[in-house]
Symmetry: C2
Subunit: 281 residues, 2 copies
Amino acid sequence: MKLETTIQGLCASLKSARAEQKIIGFVPTMGNLHQGHLNLVREARKKCDVVVVSIFVNPIQFGPNEDYDSYPRTLEQDSQLLETVGCDYIFAPSVEQMYGNKPRLTNISVSNITADLCGLQRPGHFDGVAVVVTKLFNIVRPDYAFFGEKDYQQLAVIRQFVRDLNMPIDVVGVPIARAEDGLALSSRNGYLSEENRQIAPMIYKTLKNAEQELLQAKPLDEVLESIKVALTGAGFIVDYVEARSLELQKVETFNQDVVLFVAAKIGATRLIDNLQVKYIS
Amino acid sequence: MKLETTIQGLCASLKSARAEQKIIGFVPTMGNLHQGHLNLVREARKKCDVVVVSIFVNPIQFGPNEDYDSYPRTLEQDSQLLETVGCDYIFAPSVEQMYGNKPRLTNISVSNITADLCGLQRPGHFDGVAVVVTKLFNIVRPDYAFFGEKDYQQLAVIRQFVRDLNMPIDVVGVPIARAEDGLALSSRNGYLSEENRQIAPMIYKTLKNAEQELLQAKPLDEVLESIKVALTGAGFIVDYVEARSLELQKVETFNQDVVLFVAAKIGATRLIDNLQVKYIS
């Protein structure tokens, strides 16, 4: 495994792989890796000859009051974990390496599917994601790129601009990795107090419960409302509870496969989760 | 020379060239080719192993009152010309092939350098250019791409987003091709009446005259004013006359290399031209 911190260095390293037409797999991350990320790398390892993992805390996807400065940076620990799952190259560039010192004038925006869910509370967030992922795609030029379904809306946005812009990349979504008690793994879980860590798995429990209710034909709006009530009762401040189609379009009734989305704060930590519910006609 | 009308067909054709690590050159055009375009292909031929020319009248870069419907489509004649300059592949996709039948949600915008000159009269134009050029780049994946300096602002916009998004492509600007009387070659020259075609070369004459005046230390604002007066006197309706740095930043005095820009209507036809003037200190 090799660590590259410059674009030039990474490109030089990948040159021979490309010349030999090896399949390149890419896992973009912001570091502070957990089993969720490692699952992405394992998937990449299965499908690809060469696996590149980027670790870059991208300033332009954080809002002014978000946790950019305090976001955990744990490169050494991340490197050790990546070694165990067969990563070939870590790409860990500086902000200057990625954005240079001339002003960036170009923006990429995806309309409609970014307008709500996490987009509502985080204006500009998905533009920042679209720009950095496009930059990384152009630097790494992978055949496959792997993203977690935990950030389902992000995955949908990436699939959308890859299709709209004809990027020659297969985007692979990988199921959410969960702790034994059901909490979706996230770098932000580290912010939770011990007490709140005990409460956090409620999100997944309410989602699984909602799945049962839907399959028992309880109306969708009532099911969503009951998630809200349960989470509020447990001490969460609910940001949204929503149902969408797999392509993020609004859904009024449970008459197709849906994704249930939750974003809620416990203490100062905002957690998100989602669950796909299959429609059986 | 081979004509490809589908993305899949073109990609299949280029696959072996890519496997053999051949240098791929790309010339995006809207067809109705003239010597200016052919010069781009000649440049590509010099630098590259494989030359791809796209012919696609891109609907999303035309405003609602612009000439999308009437824009000349002359594929047969274009093919004959391209054969003479050593083009390997013509890529002439349909609008459906390029934009599919699902709605496009992704936009690319470049700020600052698109705000005036042609951007002012053509809102959304450069977004449409950025999107289609990015799509074409992702389909063709060239090593070099060739653009005329006639559309200098477009060239600057393309250089900007290529740099901002780390696209692995060398953008090559090629000097303006002119008729013997100095008129910059353009597909839109075909719209000119015989009488207006006689008047049109005035644009280049006033630019060359302005160059002389600048070199003789006449103040920049007076030089720009004299271009306006001369063109208006000749029957043009002047849209803009401006001086900019090579990177399109505003310039108050002639103390660096500048580009002089003109856009003006004669009859119903809008013509643009520009001239780089070297500063000798």
